[in-house]
Amino acid sequence: MDTDPLAHLIQRVAQRDGAAFRALYEASAGRLLAIAQRVLDDRGAAEDVLQEVFMALWNGQSRIPEVCRAPLAWLTTLTRNRAIDVARKRRPELPLQWQGEDGEEHSFDIADDSATPPEQLQGAQEDARLAHCLGCIAEEPRRALVLAYYEGLTHLEIAERLARPLGTVKAWVRRSLLSLQDCLQGGSGMAT
């Protein structure tokens, strides 16, 4: 961690170093805003999250852990967790799918015309190993995983979105994560 320039910046921000604060913002805000916006689907709310994350670093409420191999990954976790908290508070209590009095099935789910994250991944080929590892996971479990990561959905929400039993979704997510771990750890020889 000590050799990572971002780690030094984060430590200096906790010491109220204004120049380090600006430098950390310039170095990471674009990436962090991207994930917050993806989870919240709301630019203004995502910028609010970013503001909270940076002020928590400045005020010493978020301190970089001793074990931190990738400071940008840690910052991403902070940002994503905060965005997920905000998203979960905003979500209506109504289920995404329900049965009306006439017995008809209704759904709040609206098709998104933009490319899905896996499509973006596959299309951009920005991280060949990740795309490969995700590609090794069966389609529905992979969908469950990307819904959890990119939209911050809970197991229950994923089950409602995919119209699958909760237990099945939990098992999919668990197996997808383990498969991803195995592939990423074992695939050092793969193209990157």
Binding site: L6, R31, R69, L72, T76, Q120, T192
Partner: protein, 288 residues
């Protein structure tokens, strides 16, 4: 039977669900407290952060609105055009290449001027004899000397940003509270040297005391070893008339919300000084 916290497999799965965000509520809080106590658990979380971070990096960076930095700078009490310390352009780096660490000059881990000042003041104040007035006077006299001893400034400049600094004693004359705020900042930092217990339903409340002994409310401040509170206006306006600062206990939720006069007793009170060089007064025409 093995407890879940002793099972490597269970911990790995929990770490993955924690980083993914599917661990919720009490389970998440229990896992966070375990992570704080167990380096091996923190290691697993760090591993998962690195794995799943690749998914975040698949997203193209989004340029924040230019006003966002201005908001942050204001909140942090910094000038909006604060220069950035040179950093590696992480945001502009290719998405798949975050791991290699570019060689650069390591940033020395030194405490900032304020930390050095507070540390120095803490050491100097420790043996000061009891007596609020004595402490306040010593604090007021010592502050500029401490600055010069710790940070010999260039002529016409101080290393610490222009700031208001108060050194307050507790009711029994012990070193009590150090208060600091940048001259144009909108927050105030408070370091409690002597902890105080705040009864339920009450809050610490900061006051400005001017040369005539008149009090002006600043606002409620949290209790804690090192806390920060927002100011209603820039420090230059809030503390301009301050010769002393005082802290009382006030009721939470009382009416009016901001009390007009301080409560019964000062919890902390002491001198407040402006830590910047004031240009010497111009000689009067015809003088000398």
């Amino acid at each position: 039977m093995t407890h879940w916290s002793d099972s490597a497999r269970a911990l790995n799965e929990l770490a993955s669900q924690y980083v993914l965000g599917t661990l919720q509520g009490r389970a998440r809080r229990r896992f966070e407290s375990l992570m704080a106590q167990r380096p091996d658990v923190a290691e697993r979380v760090a591993d998962w952060e690195a794995h799943l971070h690749r998914m975040a990096q698949a997203l193209p960076p989004v340029v924040p609105h230019p006003a966002l930095w201005g908001k942050l700078a204001r909140q942090a009490g910094l000038p909006a055009d604060a220069p950035a310390q040179p950093a590696d352009p992480v945001a502009a780096a290719p998405a798949h290449a975050p791991a290699p660490v570019p060689a650069r000059r390591p940033v020395p881990q030194q405490p900032g001027p304020l930390q050095r000042l507070l540390r120095g003041l803490g050491a100097l104040l420790a043996p000061v004899p009891a007596g609020a007035l004595a402490l306040g006077l010593v604090g007021g006299l010592v502050i500029p000397q401490v600055f010069q001893a710790l940070n010999p400034p260039a002529l016409g400049d101080t290393e610490l940003p222009e700031s208001y600094v108060g050194v307050l004693a507790s009711a029994n004359g012990r070193p009590g509270l150090i208060v600091a705020s940048r001259r144009y900042g909108r927050v105030v930092d408070l370091k409690q040297v002597t902890p105080v217990t705040v009864p339920t339903g009450q809050t610490l409340f900061l006051w400005v005391i001017d040369a005539q002994g008149r009090t002006t409310p600043v606002g409620p401040v949290p209790s804690g070893p090192f806390v920060q509170a927002p100011l209603a206006d820039v420090a230059e306006k809030v503390f301009a008339s301050a010769v002393e600062l005082g802290v009382t206990l006030e009721s939470v939720g009382s009416s009016p919300t901001v009390p007009n006069t301080p409560g019964d007793a000062w919890v902390f009170r002491g001198l407040c000084g402006k830590v910047w060089r004031v240009p010497p007064a111009a000689p009067k025409p015809g003088a000398g």
